[in-house]
């Protein structure tokens, strides 16, 4: 899916509508308010979670459709923070905004109001939402909205957005504000500063006046460099003039004014009630455990472990139902209907077997994936993630990563794409590139499907450990990659840790459900689309082949797919793939599009190799019976879930072939074929390859967007070579006794290539450093 395409859809859908933009500091409840206002009327362009891009939705106000834009949190319009904050800043300064809704946190009013001061200075119409008044009350603070409104000259609405409190008042204020735009009174700068701003804005390039005023403010505050020496000279002059007139630097004057104003407004708006201190004590207690030097990291690992355990085993309750019911309807049902209409059998097989079978695979993974999303949303809402990042900071820093890199990594267990996007919260570009590059190694939910199919065949008694080992291996490779790149190509130190710890909150059911529903929707549609297409391709490729008479329809073993895959077998031979096992390679090739379909491909090919008469099952399907059978799996699996609570990963199911085979979505024919085509060792090597090689197409797209073509191609080559190297090492070490000569050669070859890679990265790092130096010197000279 292309970003451009989405962008077009967005603009088309919202063209001509009045635009309301939500602005505020991070963690002030913008997204909660956005969800409250727009409900499900959202154009989901990116994954919700950490908001790093603007999102739009629509709502109806007074019978009129209005577009609502949710922006990433921003502390100041004058600069600072990561890419995400720049997105918000640019939109607020340049975007076609008709009304700003500024959301401030009542429990931390003074700081939040400094952004309000800057927003007022844009001169745009504005409504102020004082959110989380319940948390302020818990601190013994009451909010006087009427007084604040009078002082600001703006409509002020007090709310508890998470509980929907104050929604009616807000809607009234918004309706009113769109009719008659409210412009508040920004804090006055005084004559000296206004004059200085006037001179500077006249010199700045001809962009929009709001942007020019802020550029001038940044120059005066010293948060931006002058563009050229002429400008620098003028700036110095202006600063000297202000200092002469006031005995203070313009930076001090402006900031004292702004902060003084915020303090005064906060004092106007708040009055102190009785203070119980209960909440504070609870926070202190929790922080004491969660941030503890010794317990911090174990607590975090425990939380992660629980999330996956509950997602997997809880998901298993409904997995069979989703799988069997969708198979009954989409494969057998659709096949039967098409057969009745008298369509040719090849077309029926294509639609029911190819497309229907592909969709069936996606649908069966909805329960575990959906539950993972629910838990990630809960984690997000609870205020714990920032604390986990702080707890892990020292460990991560030793590896050259900032502690907040942890947040995207956790998201990566769900899907690598939002994880890569989420890396925008990291401020320094070096740390961000590192964080982005390690995401493909976090084992996403799609890869689990492949592990499970293989685990049931080869690692029945210790499947849990094997799957867990693969997850851990992914994390280790990710961290080592960061360390390696940090020591070679991307040298430097992570910026010191700075992060606001949001208050602990009981997650709101509404926001958790909405957030995970959106993620699931994106997951299902994106993956479903890819799989349906691949299903068709996989139907055609195994059916035609290159013969002496040109392209003709052939049996599967002489098809294009077989010919192509067989040609690649020699490359994969060192990791234990035999000549006859070409379907394993077809799976890997298809898996480069989306890892979910590796097992789907194996399924399709092995099935056709061992073709059963599918048409017979379509002719006389017992759909009602199958649906009833599917429904019956729910209570059975619930009992299994309860009785296996002591087997946290829910992997004892691996001991029973039937349940895991359903869980993996692979038919028993496929499992038998896997059993004859692989050995336990080559299967493990294959899984390691699947874990590490080429991230899926969507992930590559995200990589290109976030770090550019160069690093995307690097990631592609690095991941694939690492995958090949690691699985070859595993297979050759395991079979060393059989052929020490060739195994030894392979092992030495792999290690030598790795050494070459390290040297290459080092050289790149040195070159990049020497290239960067002259430009720094130039800057210094010009300064």
């Amino acid at each position: 899916m292309s970003a451009c395409h989405e962008e077009n859809q967005k603009t088309q859908a919202t063209a001509g509508l009045p635009i309301i933009a939500l602005a505020g500091n991070p963690n002030c409840g913008k997204t909660t308010l956005f969800n409250l206002l727009t409900g499900t009327h959202q154009q989901v362009g990116n994954w919700p979670g950490v908001t790093v891009e603007r999102r739009s939705g629509s709502m109806s106000l007074d019978g009129r459709k209005v577009s609502v834009v949710d922006l990433p949190g921003v502390y100041s319009l004058l600069g600072g923070g990561g890419e995400d904050q720049a997105v918000a800043r640019d939109y607020l300064l340049d975007g076609p905004v008709d009304l700003i809704v500024n959301i401030v946190d009542a429990s931390n009013l003074e700081r939040h109001l400094t952004l309000t001061a800057e927003l007022l200075e844009t001169g745009r119409p504005m409504v102020l939402v004082v959110n989380m008044v319940d948390e302020a009350e818990a601190q013994g603070l009451g909010v006087l909205t009427t007084e604040l409104s009078a002082a600001l000259g703006l409509p002020v609405v007090s709310m508890v957005a998470r509980r929907g409190k104050g929604r009616g008042n807000l809607l009234d204020s918004l309706t009113q504000a769109l009719r008659q735009a409210p412009h508040g009174t920004p804090p006055p700068h005084g004559l000296l500063i206004e004059r200085a701003l006037g001179v500077l804005t006249a010199l700045l390039p001809d962009s929009n006046p709001v942007r020019r005023r802020f550029d001038a403010l940044r120059l005066l505050e010293g948060s931006a460099e002058p563009a050229d020496s002429g400008m620098e000279h003028t700036l110095r002059q202006i600063i000297a003039e202000v200092e002469d007139g006031s005995a203070e630097t313009p930076a001090d004057l402006i900031m004292d004014q702004r902060f003084g104003w915020a303090q005064e407004m906060a004092a106007t708006a708040l009055h102190r009630n009785g203070y119980t201190g209960m909440r504070q004590r609870i926070t202190d207690l929790l922080d004491h455990v969660v941030l503890n030097d010794w317990f911090g990291i174990p607590v975090f690992l425990l939380v992660l472990y629980l999330i996956f355990v509950v997602s997997f085993s809880g998901g298993n309750i409904f997995l069979d139902f989703f799988d069997q019911a969708s198979a009954a309807l989409l494969i057998h049902g659709v096949g039967h209907v098409l057969l009745e209409t008298g369509l040719p059998t090849w077309l029926i097989a294509l639609v029911a077997g190819g497309v229907g079978g592909g969709l069936n695979l996606v649908i069966s993974f909805i329960p575990p994936v959906g539950l993972t999303f629910v838990f990630l949303a809960l984690l997000d809402d609870s205020g714990y993630m920032a604390r986990a990042a702080y707890a892990m900071d020292r460990l991560m820093r030793r590896l050259g990563l900032p502690g907040n890199a942890l947040v995207p990594m956790v998201i990566g267990f769900g899907c690598n794409v939002p994880a890569i996007m989420g890396s925008r919260i990291i401020e320094d570009p070096r740390g961000r590139i590192l964080t982005v590059l390690i995401q493909p190694f976090m084992s996403c939910s799609a890869r689990l499907t492949i592990y499970m199919a293989f685990a049931v065949v080869f690692f029945r008694s210790n499947g849990g450990q094997v799957v867990f080992a693969l997850y851990v291996l992914g994390i280790i490779v990710a961290l080592l990659t960061a360390w390696l790149l940090g020591k070679t190509a991307l040298r430097g130190e992570a910026l010191p840790f700075v992060m606001e710890l949001p208050p602990y909150r009981l997650p709101g059911i509404r926001s958790v459900v909405l957030q995970s529903w959106q993620r699931l929707k994106v997951f299902t549609f994106r993956v479903g689309r890819v799989i349906a297409v691949i299903g068709v391709v996989l139907f055609i490729l195994p059916g035609i082949g290159w013969t002496d008479h040109g392209l003709r329809s052939t049996d599967i073993d002489h098809s294009l797919l077989a010919q192509g895959s067989r040609a690649l077998v020699p490359i994969f031979a060192p990791m234990g793939i035999q000549q006859g096992n070409w379907p394993a390679i077809s799976g890997l090739i298809a898996g480069a599009a989306a890892k979910e379909i590796v097992i789907g491909t194996l399924n399709g090919v092995y099935q056709r190799q061992n073709a059963a008469d599918l048409m017979a099952t379509y002719r006389d399907p017992d759909i009602a019976g199958q649906l009833w059978g599917a429904l019956k799996t729910i209570p059975t699996n619930t009992i299994t879930f309860i009785t296996t609570l002591d087997d946290p990963l829910g992997l004892s199911a691996m001991e029973s072939t039937a349940s895991t085979q359903q869980a993996s979505g692979a038919e028993s024919v496929t499992l038998q074929a896997i059993a004859t085509s692989f050995t336990a060792l080559s299967a493990f090597a294959y899984l390691v390859f699947v874990l590490l090689y080429v991230p899926c197409a969507s992930t590559m797209g995200a990589l290109r967007r976030e770090v550019g073509w160069g690093w995307m191609i690097f990631s592609l080559l690095y991941g694939s070579s690492l995958a090949w190297g690691a699985s070859t090492l595993i297979y050759q070490t395991g079979t060393f006794a059989k052929h020490p000569g060739s195994s030894g050669a392979w092992i030495i070859g792999v290690l030598a290539s790795f050494a070459l890679l390290v040297i290459g990265l080092r050289l790149y790092g040195q070159r990049a450093a020497t290239l960067a130096k002259p430009s720094l010197n130039q800057k210094a000279a010009s300064a």
Binding site: G80, N108, D287, P496, F497, E500, L501
Partner: protein, 84 residues
């Protein structure tokens, strides 16, 4: 004149007032946007340790790494400051 005191020199539960934020433009701005500037009242709610410290600043809790807290010069305040 008292010798310079930094956040890292405080103890858990101590309250202090920020005297100055040392460091370049980027550092100043990062601190300012989180509400730490000359005259801000702070309280240490976790640490300080090798990792850094968690400070209560107004209604917010800020986790700051060691490299940051050693650039925040403070004045020790006896007893709790009301409001934080």
């Amino acid at each position: 004149m008292n010798p310079s005191l930094f956040v890292g020199d405080l103890k858990l539960g101590d309250s202090a007032r920020v005297r100055d934020v040392l460091g370049g433009r980027g550092m100043q701005q990062r601190m300012r946007m989180l509400g730490i500037r000359r005259g801000t009242d702070i309280r240490v709610v976790h640490g300080p340790g090798k990792r850094g410290a968690v400070l209560q600043v107004g209604g917010a809790r800020l986790a700051l790494g060691w490299g940051v807290i050693q650039r925040i010069e403070v004045e020790f305040c006896r007893g709790p400051i009301p409001g934080i």
